[in-house]
């Protein structure tokens, strides 16, 4: 009797595994199933949240005053930087208008969300966020911390969502070198604190210490957010390529709060049409 059961289970499991790895629609249904187990995640994260709340309410007056002063000073500093930034942004807009650039960044809307203190499988570089569809999150939304890009959202449940970190082996992000505008694709390698640039030619100008920011290509991540700096460059003479190892700027281990970005890109109608065609051709290729 058990033999029939186990064969059935193994066959079902193999089917599920194949579908989960390859089919987008199966992944969508999986989000709904995950709602069943989400109370467990809330319960496990609860003690940490209670301690944090107690910590917040039990602080002394003296501590609060000190922190307030520190924050005020910081605010002043950031405000002065922002003024400079605004003038640069204005200048940038004008330049883009002169170049009649295909896309322009609309003002992005940003919101803070907190992490749920649960660990997922160590083989998966994912996080659970304490916000979901009720907060208007969407699949593909970029997630940042104070230092740089963390990743993007892959699953949205009513009250929770999952973030795929850049360190995951499946993560890709289009980047640009701030020193010379050279573009590349950075890919996760499945290890924390490390990524790699894909298909870099031997004559490409990347040097250790270069800052890489999002290039905005692919329209998933907004333009110009810091991603990583180049750690080491190794030339492979035989294949005429370079191996460029980069270190992500975001600090996944120390972040408890993250920034969610709602960014919209304004496209010319012509470009929109092109993009649509491009996407449909990709989809056909995938289906074939």
């Amino acid at each position: 009797m058990h033999v029939v059961q186990i064969i059935l289970m193994v066959v079902l499991c193999m089917g599920f595994l194949y579908l989960d790895a390859n089919s987008p629609w199966f992944h969508r249904y999986r989000q709904y199933l995950a709602v069943v187990v989400s109370p467990v995640q809330f319960v496990v994260a609860a003690p940490g949240r209670i301690i944090a709340a107690l910590n917040q309410s039990l602080r002394s007056n003296h501590q609060l005053i000190a922190e307030n002063e520190m924050l005020k000073a910081r605010q002043l500093l950031l405000d002065s930087r922002l003024q400079k930034m605004m003038s640069v942004e204005q200048q940038n807009k004008q330049l883009r208008a002169m170049l009649s650039s295909a896309s322009q960044l609309k003002h992005s809307h940003v919101q803070i969300a907190s992490l749920l203190a649960v660990d997922l499988n160590p083989t998966e570089h994912q996080w659970v966020l304490n916000a979901g569809r009720s907060d208007h999150l969407y699949v593909g939304q970029p997630v940042l911390d104070a230092h740089g890009v963390l990743g993007h959202i892959i699953d949205v449940s009513p009250n929770l969502s999952r973030v795929l970190l850049l360190s995951d082996q499946r993560a890709r992000i289009p980047v640009q070198n701030t020193r010379n505008g050279l573009r590349a694709i950075a890919a996760g390698v499945g290890e924390n604190h490390q990524m790699q640039l894909l298909n870099v030619q031997a004559d490409a100008d990347f040097k250790p210490g270069d800052l890489l920011v999002t290039s905005g290509l692919g329209l998933r991540y907004p333009l110009g957010y810091p991603v990583a700096y180049v750690r080491s460059v190794i030339a492979h003479d035989a294949s005429h390529t370079k191996q460029v190892i980069v270190t992500p700027l975001a600090h996944p281990a120390s972040s408890t709060q993250v920034l969610l970005v709602w960014h919209q890109v304004l496209l010319n109608p012509k470009d929109k049409q092109l993009l649509k065609q491009d996407r449909s051709s990709v989809w056909e290729k995938g289906a074939a």
Partner: protein, 166 residues
């Protein structure tokens, strides 16, 4: 009635195992997390009647997949195969000594890791650290230490009955 008690104990223990499987650990220890759900399911193979246990193992494995964001079916596959092996070995298990039980648990746990590594490799997912295999040692050690201390299910249900009588 007794069956009902056992079933509810089983589901409660699975819930606790779920919690222990996702409780936050320091980054350096993340790979060494023991396979709590496997321990719980093997315990129930040895201590309760076996009807429906394979399905419970399978469904709880699927739940763990949803919970940990693994590929859907990864833990369910490993868990159902191992519980099947345990069910086959069940008539001989009471003949084993304590260290033999520990050794068996080590083998089962290594097999559990091996199935996961195979699934991850086959579907081209993430890199797996060598330390992932050491979680098996920890699992076997926990079984070796904790198992003899656990009460038999008979005692547990009798205790529950007593409480109800009072």
């Amino acid at each position: 009635m007794k069956n009902f008690y056992i079933r509810s104990y089983q589901w409660i223990s699975i819930l606790v195992a779920y919690m222990l499987s996702i409780i936050s650990l320091p980054e350096s220890l993340a790979w060494y997390r023991p396979q709590i759900l496997l321990l719980v399911m093997v315990f129930w193979v040895m201590k309760s009647n076996t009807s429906g246990l394979l399905w419970i193992a399978w469904f709880s494995g699927l739940g763990l997949d949803l919970l940990t964001g693994s590929l859907f079916g990864q833990h369910a596959l490993a868990l159902s195969l191992l519980i099947y092996i345990c069910l086959k070995l069940r008539p001989y298990l009471h003949l084993y000594r304590r260290w033999q039980h520990g050794l068996l648990m080590l083998l089962l746990s290594l097999f559990y890791v091996a199935i996961q590594v195979w699934v991850l490799g086959h579907f081209q997912r993430n890199f797996v650290a060598v330390s992932f295999w050491f979680s098996s040692l920890l699992t076997a050690f926990i079984w070796f230490v904790v198992y003899p201390c656990l009460p038999t299910i008979r005692q547990a249900t009798d205790h529950c009955q007593l409480l109800l009588d009072i």
